[in-house]
Symmetry: C2
Amino acid sequence: MAVLLSTKAATMAMWRDALLAVDPTLEIRMFPDAGEPADIEAAVVWTAHDMAELRRYPNLRLIVSMGAGVDHLLRPPGPPPGIPVARLVDRMLTTQMGEWVLLNVLRFHRQDLEYRAQQRDRVWLELDAPVTAERRVGILGLGELGTHAAGLLRGLGFPVMGWTRRPRQVEGVETFHGADGLAAMAARSAILVCLLPLTPETRGIVNAGLLARLPRGAFVINGARGGHVVDADLLAALDSGQVAAAALDVFQPEPLPPEHPYWSHPRVVMTPHAASITIPSSAAPQVVENIHRARAGRPLINLVDFSAGY
Amino acid sequence: MAVLLSTKAATMAMWRDALLAVDPTLEIRMFPDAGEPADIEAAVVWTAHDMAELRRYPNLRLIVSMGAGVDHLLRPPGPPPGIPVARLVDRMLTTQMGEWVLLNVLRFHRQDLEYRAQQRDRVWLELDAPVTAERRVGILGLGELGTHAAGLLRGLGFPVMGWTRRPRQVEGVETFHGADGLAAMAARSAILVCLLPLTPETRGIVNAGLLARLPRGAFVINGARGGHVVDADLLAALDSGQVAAAALDVFQPEPLPPEHPYWSHPRVVMTPHAASITIPSSAAPQVVENIHRARAGRPLINLVDFSAGY
């Protein structure tokens, strides 16, 4: 039996080495060189892989996403019926996303865009001191990533709020849920951070209606999926001053086309889906564990809940 | 009796209001309108005030710096003989400096200068994921500011080292002291953060010798005083690639002259002595407390140790 990898060539080589370091008996195939289709027992894939293609493997019993998000696996046609899908739950993914969120919260909180412009123009001017206890941060999503980011921000003294689909309690975080809760939290979010899974319910959640509810001059940070943001609405809010600036790691499509207005917008800070990069050596143990469990017919870990969509 | 304030007019007005909010019976004078010199019992001053001028006030019994640093009060001619000097020890100063250090550590750690350049050039390229546990930070100075910054960095998972003049233990921080310790710590500092007081012993501490000991491609962050850094040496290290980038909040002189090469250096991130801005309403209670103590002949708080220089 064999494990099929599918992503960029350089990353596949890192995954191969990382999986073999955990279990040297694994046979690894690198897409498109899948070999005999009946050999493939597990597929470890990233966003570009076509789910229809996975229907070619009659003995497939496990699909693993190479990241925390699985929206790319669940969109039509979805994974082959009956095949379980696991995502990565990796402390290093969580840590990296926490750093990226913190970097951008502090960038906006500490007026860094203004200070970069002042340096460019050789202007020596001390701006008003920002007060952390008065800069309220609203986080969309309190899963692994959202809860971790909330803890980091609380530790720095920011008041933190969080919104989830279903009611949820998180220590030290003022929580909201449902449509009313979303509007209520937005109205008090000086900085809005999106760390939601992308599902039919959350697609386009950062739209003109939500942005209009933010306090004027709020900041938007999206580390989740490009599909959460209605780009035309965010650009309009940036141009009107309703949103002071945005930090975006994810786009639709990716790579973001060179002609997209985000690239050159003076109030948009972009990273190329790099907020949280899977490190194969960190993620390999849980993938090997799931391969062993699938072979033995034991319950899998980090399984995706198809009804919830994440 | 009266309290003399001396700094920018707008800031003096904030100080006046903040001091009166704590003790409405205080009489406040704003330099240069000092009124009758014999009235002045306390002087609350910032860097531009001439220490020789303070010799005009025969009944002066307390000088207070408007910031954490007091090097500006101690340089020749120094404060009038026998008059105690207090500095501000203010949680908000510490908090702000911690944020500024964290913003710049994360900026460098997360390759933000590279990602800003990539956005400008419309380049979609994921850089190698940085590993926090392998990015060792060395902090020069473990006073209020250094110890707080060390705690924040540890909380994010950075290995943290600290150097002090005299031996010192700080939980979770690998500590060094003396000249040998300085060289040893520098050799392992991927990021070097200066939060020292400026004294004759620490002036010019970030010089060619120290910079040469850093691992190649290290980052330098100075939130202390411009006098800690030998500018020509730092610029040479930046241009050779020995230092990958620097974040500087303090300069010599301030404001930094418009022709200084830091302004336009692509690997220098500047803020105009704004990392930690005194908020008079936060600092006023300790100043009023010291005025009351001075009147009553009780021991003062936050006194400067003239022999140590801070």
